[in-house]
Each structure stands twice: as C-alpha cells, then as structure tokens.
Subunit: 90 residues, 5 copies
Amino acid sequence: MIVGKVVGNVWATRKEESLNGLKFMIVVPNDPVNPGTRESIVAVDQVGAGIGESVLVAQGSSARKTVQHADAPVDAAIVGIIDEMEVRKD
Amino acid sequence: MIVGKVVGNVWATRKEESLNGLKFMIVVPNDPVNPGTRESIVAVDQVGAGIGESVLVAQGSSARKTVQHADAPVDAAIVGIIDEMEVRKD
Amino acid sequence: MIVGKVVGNVWATRKEESLNGLKFMIVVPNDPVNPGTRESIVAVDQVGAGIGESVLVAQGSSARKTVQHADAPVDAAIVGIIDEMEVRKD
Amino acid sequence: MIVGKVVGNVWATRKEESLNGLKFMIVVPNDPVNPGTRESIVAVDQVGAGIGESVLVAQGSSARKTVQHADAPVDAAIVGIIDEMEVRKD
Amino acid sequence: MIVGKVVGNVWATRKEESLNGLKFMIVVPNDPVNPGTRESIVAVDQVGAGIGESVLVAQGSSARKTVQHADAPVDAAIVGIIDEMEVRKD
C-alpha cells in the first residue's frame, strides 16, 4: 500500500456497469519518508474518506477485494484513513 | 485507475483470437494534479470513447473484467468517460 | 498493452518445464506519442512476429492467457502485429 | 521481492474490515546493489519485523498469500527478516 | 520477462512458512538493448542458476507458477538460464 492524500473527485456517467455506485477519488501519493512529486491515482473509496485526508491506498488486483462486485474493473482503492504515522530515520 | 486522453487507434489483423472484435485505443495519461509527459497506453474500449475524450483507464488484471471473453490477454481498458473532475490543492 | 518493436531473440535451454516450446523475443517499447528510450522486455510470441515488426505487448497476468499451459511463468506476450496506427495530437 | 528497511508504522482505525488485526509498517526499499532514494511502501507484517530491521518485501497479488483472510486488500507484505546477504559485483 | 544477471544471495531464517526451502537470489536487470543502472530484484530460483549467470526473470503473479506451493508469497522468479541472445538494432 502507499500513503496518499485525497485531493479531488472524478465523475463519469458513461462507464462499465459494474462500476455503478462507486465513488472515485483523486489521490496524490504522499510518501512519509521520501517526499516528492508523484503521479496521482484515481481510487475507489468505500471507507468514507474526505478531501484533505491522509489515506492508505491498495493497488492492483487487491483493490478489487474492496468492492462488492468482484468483477468490477478497479485497480486502486482507499482501504483505510490514517490516524497516525511514526517514522524513525536513522 | 488513471485519467487519460484518447489520442488514437491501433489496428492489428494478426492477433490472439480472443482479441477479435475489440477496439484498441491509444491513451495518454493526463494527470489532473501533476501534469507531465507520460508513456502512452493501448487500452481496450467498450464504453464508446472517442478521440479527444477524457477517460478513466484501469490496468492490470482488472482490465480483463471489462471484456466478455475473460481469457483475452488484455492489460488496460477504458472503464469510463469522464464528465467532470474537481481538484483541490491546498 | 504497449506498442513495441521486435529487435531480437533469447534462447534458454535450462528453463521451467512449462516454458518448453515457447519463443522468447526481445521487444523495445516504441511509444507512438511520446518517444524515448525505454527498458526492453522479453515477451513470448505465438502470433508469429518477426524481427523489425511493430507489435502489441500485454504484460502481467494477462500474458498467461496467450499460452496453452496456463501455469507457465510468463509475464509478457506479443498479442498482435500492428498493421496501422493513427495518432491525433492537438 | 525487494530488500527493504523497516522505518515506521501506520495506524488506521477506519479501514476495510478484512484488514482488522493487521500491522502496517513503513518500509524503505534498500537496494543492496544499486543504492538510491526510493519511494516507501506500507507493508503488512506477520513475521514480527521491528523498526530498523532489513526485510524481504513481496508486492502485488502475492502479498495476499501472507494473510489468513485471502480477501484482504493487501498489496505489499513483509515475508522474511534478512539474516545475511552476499553480493558479488564484478 | 526481463534479462538479468545473478549477483548474490539472501538468507532469511524467520520467514513465511510457505517460503521454506526456497533459494533467494539477487538479480540485477541487464537490458540487452538499453543498458543502464536498474534496481535489483530478489528472485526465487528453481532452475539452478549460479552467481554471474545471465537469466530470464518473471515477475508478478506469474512468478508463483514456478513454486510447488502455489500459496507462497513470491513475486519474482528465475525461469530460465540464458544460453544466447541476438539483438538487431537498425
């Protein structure tokens, strides 16, 4: 998983039927150790994340495990809302 | 998923049989947060996207969920046509 | 999928048994929109591609859908020989 | 797999139910051959790794093989604690 | 698959049980067309590759096809020892 920050939403009326009802959020990776500009991801959200929140994002086939319809073509999902992080660099 | 722009088409007569009937479109990633030059992708389209449209692209095994023939060797698919995006960067 | 150019062959006598009979070709990604130097891939070919040809390459688990032996450890496959591409950049 | 160093922890109270009980650790890739700054990963740990330890991390669908609940949306896992490495560069 | 060179070994006593008996080798990608410094990979070996040998490496879920225990969290495997390569760049 990666740490990301939710920065926006995407709306698509015409889409794969199995995606109906899903919420698509734009997430920017936000590396707690090595910050830097990274490509944004559109992730499905079913944990209720809001704009500005720090989240855990799972990618690849694992993202499909978050949606009821196992056949939805989803490759990124918000799987948790981060409360706290601790990083020790030494 | 990523946000992309449809910029072209690919035609291949000699191909894996399970790909027959599929439409292959060239999509350039178009990051709404951190723009930049990215590698193009050839994605299968079954939502009716046209050249110039902004689309959602799913990659990896999830892309196979969009085609009837679950055994088609497809690793990228257009899964939605984007109507609107909202990005808040602060 | 990505667009690539076939540039060579790889031979391996000692290999996983399930790979017997497969042809391994070296393919260089050849982005029709944003050209540049990319890492080459070794892809299995079952559509009869030749050196110099422009091909469609599928990667990841989807590549296994091209081989009879579904248990072959294959992560890239040539799935089509490209006849024509059309790119509109504006 | 890749070699990484455990540098921190992530806590998320609101998360996918199937993630309950899992421990999330921040791991920085630590290439034994070509060192350099790499993006950190949040990996599930079930081998008991501690901060500062050198670990093997598996990514993608393989990471799900480490958790009891095969349907957990996990895409990175610590699969071993490294005792020793030997690298010969010549 | 990619072409790599075996440069070392990794030992881990505490690891996922399903990894017992597997041999972990450090492989550096060694692109026959576009050489350059790439991140090393830890790959499972069951074809008997030795230090210094040129090998084919499969990544992702396909790597699991090389191990008896299909549930081992393995995401990279040496699948062949390369005898010969031919590259034509023109």
